[in-house]
């Protein structure tokens, strides 16, 4: 069969819906269209049954009780609710108090913007926030978090796996360290949140064993629909409370008002059920693809670097820098491959990837990185095609690159005084 173009290598941005998910959702648009809040008729009961079955499917994937699952509109909402909701609940001083006195929050410089921005909001509103600097390998350890904890720390938010790099932080270790800290200090007013959007449905998760208090994820990263997600909120040891951020009808036990997106929730549940059965096989297959991609590209191209930790990375995400070529120019040369770049030009700002910068990757390499992320239907043929196209494009662009000439002549471009624009 001929290879169908373009090839989708951007599964960390979003995934296609699994047809089994769509099939499960369809009746909830037409026949079972009820509002789960309608307690007095069959339409309402059917909708509620759909949502409750999905809640069980989500809980099974996370290793928690269905009562600990709150449906949201996605990871951005989940992160906002977890971070602002926990900080406001566990604050040491009321709103309006002096800067830095409401409590201490720990997060990481290369979190997703949906975590960074709520944390910056807290900072403006009187909390003191520590943004941990990641090491060169991008992995946040329990030790780094432990060293930052203070008696007034109310919230720690560390993503499970990074969306640009695929690096895996020490989340279970951080969770267990915080558990120990609670025991040792007698404090139960410090909670641990993880944005697990890139993790859940790809890698095995157990919030009990992994000692997580709050966990966010969204449907569209695990072959479910967009516009739906879930937030896990621990109910015991300790019972975590949150200040609601959306007020209204009191749905989702008051954590999240608003009529439930039943069709989306049913789809999310189905996606979780499929993930539980298939994620191990998917992960093994995609890891082999990723390793092939990384080893071929780094052996066939000079000055080519795989970003992030050597092993502690998700199987399906590769982030690779190609020295002396610019990311957007590169993406144009491989337009048959849909992927992401850390280049400034692909975003509205002129800054190169803040994630790569946080790792200390030089600007010229940060501008030249591609994130290639594979998924359930990625084939060997697509992987081989991608490798071939990238090698061809990088070689072509290096022939055009004045920096490549300088490199070949042995000139260190970091020592040149560039005329700034």
């Amino acid at each position: 069969m001929a290879l169908k173009l373009p090839v989708y290598m951007d599964h960390a941005a979003t995934t296609p819906c699994d047809p089994r998910v769509v099939e499960a959702m369809l009746p909830y648009f037409t026949e079972k269209f009820g509002n789960s809040g309608s307690r007095n008729h069959k339409f309402g009961w059917e909708a509620e049954d759909g949502a409750e079955a999905a809640r069980e499917q989500v809980a099974a994937l996370l290793g928690c009780s269905p009562k600990e699952v709150i449906f949201t509109s996605g990871a951005t909402e989940g992160n906002n609710l977890a971070i602002k909701g926990a900080a406001e609940m566990y604050e040491r001083a009321p709103a309006g108090s002096a800067a830095g006195t409401r409590g201490h929050v720990i997060t990481v410089m290369h979190e997703h913007k949906a975590v960074l921005d709520p944390c910056k909001r807290l900072q403006k509103e009187g909390f003191d926030v520590t943004f941990l600097q990641p090491p060169e390998d991008g992995v946040i350890t329990a030790k780094m978090v432990k060293d930052a904890i203070r008696p007034d720390t109310v919230l720690v938010s560390v993503m499970w796996a990074n969306n640009e790099l695929g690096t895996i932080n020490e989340v279970p270790e951080i969770g267990r360290m915080i558990r120990e800290y609670r025991k040792a200090s007698g404090r139960d007013d410090i909670v641990f949140h993880t944005d697990a959007t890139q993790w859940v449905g790809k890698m095995s998760t157990n919030v009990e064993k992994d000692a997580v208090d709050l966990l966010t994820f969204s449907g569209h990263k695990l072959y479910g629909p967009k516009g739906v997600g879930a937030l896990y909120v621990r109910r015991k040891n300790p019972r975590v409370r949150l200040v609601a951020q959306l007020e209204g009808g009191g749905q989702e036990r008051g954590f999240r008002s608003g009529t439930l997106n039943i069709s989306g929730i049913v789809g999310l549940g189905k996606a979780c059920e499929i993930a539980m059965k298939e994620m191990d096989a998917d992960a093994a297959r995609l890891l082999a693809f990723r390793k092939k991609m990384e080893s071929e590209l780094t052996s066939r191209l000079e000055v080519c670097k795989v970003n992030g930790h050597a092993d502690r990375r998700l199987p399906h995400i590769a982030n690779i820098s190609f020295g002396f070529v610019e990311g957007e120019g590169l993406m144009m040369a491989i337009k048959e491959i849909a992927c992401s770049s850390g280049s400034a030009c692909t975003s509205a700002s002129l800054e190169p990837s803040y994630v790569l910068k946080a790792l200390g990757v030089g600007d010229e390499l940060a501008h030249s990185s591609l994130r290639l992320s594979m998924g359930r239907w990625t084939t060997q043929e697509q992987v081989d095609y991608t490798i071939g196209k990238i090698v061809e494009a990088v070689n072509k662009l290096r022939m055009l690159s004045p920096l490549w000439d300088m490199h070949k002549e042995g000139i260190d471009i970091s020592q040149i005084e560039w005329a700034q624009h």
Binding site: E326, E328, G329, M332, C345, P352, L400, P402, A419
Partner: protein, 143 residues
């Protein structure tokens, strides 16, 4: 963002790619002027080299190299095409807005055309300095 057909054409078939020798070779050549503008951390570095016929003060040949996006590559490719055969005075009259118009560059890509204009000016200035000629036109405005 969609690129114009002309940008794609220059990007896929860039004109006048190359240089008139290694960095030290071109430095030693009095008939060649080199202009390098931009910076790696900004995601654009453009290099234009001109070879000038001294008798006529005419740009006999021009070459470019560019580290940058498709619009930057197209702007520098187009610029070399346009300045070839022009007198130094005429080449200095080339405005970035002409490049913007020809390539239909969107507002976020205007800086690519500015880099092209600046690298032409820098190359001419380099040639003038090497040949101890007084600059006939004011230097380009700072950005």
């Amino acid at each position: 963002m969609a690129y114009s057909d002309k940008v794609i054409n220059h990007y896929e078939n860039p004109r006048n790619v190359g240089s008139f020798g290694t960095t030290s070779e071109v430095k030693a050549r009095k008939d060649v002027g080199v202009g390098v503008v931009g910076a790696p951390e900004c995601g654009d570095v453009m290099q234009i080299q001109i070879q000038v016929d001294e008798a006529t003060n005419t740009i006999k040949d021009a070459k470019f190299k560019c580290f940058g996006c498709g619009s930057a590559i197209a702007s520098s490719s187009l610029a070399t095409e346009w300045i070839k055969g022009r007198s130094i005075e005429d080449a200095l009259k080339l405005k970035n807005t002409e490049i913007v118009q020809e390539l239909s560059l969107p507002p976020v890509k205007i800086h690519c055309s500015v880099l092209a204009e600046d690298s032409i000016r820098a190359a001419i200035k380099d040639w003038q300095t090497k040949n101890a000629k007084a600059a006939p036109a004011p230097a380009s405005a700072a950005h």
